[in-house]
Symmetry: C2
Subunit: 217 residues, 2 copies
């Protein structure tokens, strides 16, 4: 049997096809067989060699997107020009504006049928995003005087938990209107911490993502 000399190429090819089908058909309506059918001759065994289940495939697909997103977050965090507060605004705005968000909301994950994804999102939010990106930016804001709080760790957790989980229209099946009302309350919450970082464009964008999800779910 020929040995596969480029397993990472095979993995990427599988992930490209899986991602495209999850978007086109929605995650729930895509089967492993659909993915195999679109891989032009790759055997079922070759897929199962790399991924145990459709869930595993989705986790790998979203991990790849998260890795790209983390590069963007790290660049902003390590920027030398912006003050802490402006970094926080830029990080939020860039995150929701990224075109890949359209793809994610088009996949229209049903978090109720897939508890594993909610856990994975919660874990990324609390163990990665909060301590490695948001907290250092808040600490920088405290040092440069643009953010006032005595509890940077907890403020980072609160802000990113609310933004990533509660404001995610896929998790709570929010309509465009619900999503917009959540934005207003989030804006009011942030202003209570002296963080005036939401604008009309961000509000509009979150409504748009909710609409994409509602159309595709």
């Amino acid at each position: 049997m020929a040995r596969n000399k480029h397993p990472e190429e095979t993995v990427n090819r599988i992930l490209d096809v899986a991602f495209r089908l999850f978007m086109e058909k929605g995650y729930e309506h895509t089967s492993i067989q659909n993915i195999i059918d679109n891989l032009g001759g790759l055997s079922k065994g070759a897929i199962y060699h790399h991924f145990k289940s459709k869930e595993d495939l989705l986790i790998a697909v979203t991990d790849r997107i998260t890795a790209e997103s983390n590069q963007m977050l790290a660049r902003l965090r390590d920027d030398k020009e912006l003050c802490g507060k402006d970094k926080l605004k830029t990080i939020f705005k860039s995150s929701i504006m990224r075109p890949v968000q359209n793809d994610l909301f088009t996949m229209a994950l049903d978090f109720h049928s897939n508890p594993k994804f909610l856990f994975s999102l919660l874990h990324d939010t609390m163990e990665e995003a909060a301590p490695h990106y948001i907290q250092p930016i808040i600490e920088e804001g405290i040092a440069d005087g643009s953010i006032q709080t005595k509890h940077p760790k907890q403020l980072a957790e609160l802000v990113i938990l609310v933004a990533n989980v509660w404001m995610n229209p896929m998790i709570f099946d929010d309509s465009r209107e619900d999503a917009c009302c959540k934005c207003m309350i989030f804006d009011q919450m942030m202003k209570g911490f002296g963080l005036d970082i939401m604008d009309e464009e961000m509000l509009e964008r979150i409504g748009e993502l909710a609409s994409i999800y509602q159309k595709n779910k």
Copy 2:
């Protein structure tokens, strides 16, 4: 075979014993066999007739506590004396002060090993507590002028999600100090909405519950 004429008595007896053992030994360290051994002659079959697993037993135990708690919440919600804002304060304070919280934190649930409980808590919080107790109180507060917001549904969700999930020391394995810092940030968040409802006693109590959990986990 003798027919059991009082199944609800059997169920209550099983739940009493399960609850006591979960508290004494912790949920993780209690087995179904331990519960059977303490039921004085009730057969394994009799337990499994009512509960499929230890998880099912815990859900029934906590449902019983939730039902008592909901009675208290409904009484406060329907009170004719207090304004909306004072009701909100009283409901938070009464909830964390209840002695049964000591029992719950002594059981020291490991939410990481038991994702089902986090789902159950999230469901109760967003589908029961927010719309049936917190939102009507906020709407009353808007009507009597003690609470100002244009989005009572979303404010109710945010407040109770943060309080029940993020501030629950069992979910994020918080030390007493972490729990107290979270309280301060929660207090600041609530004040941003004009809701000055936290006091020293509540802060102290949340620290105490975190300590109980840390001692028993």
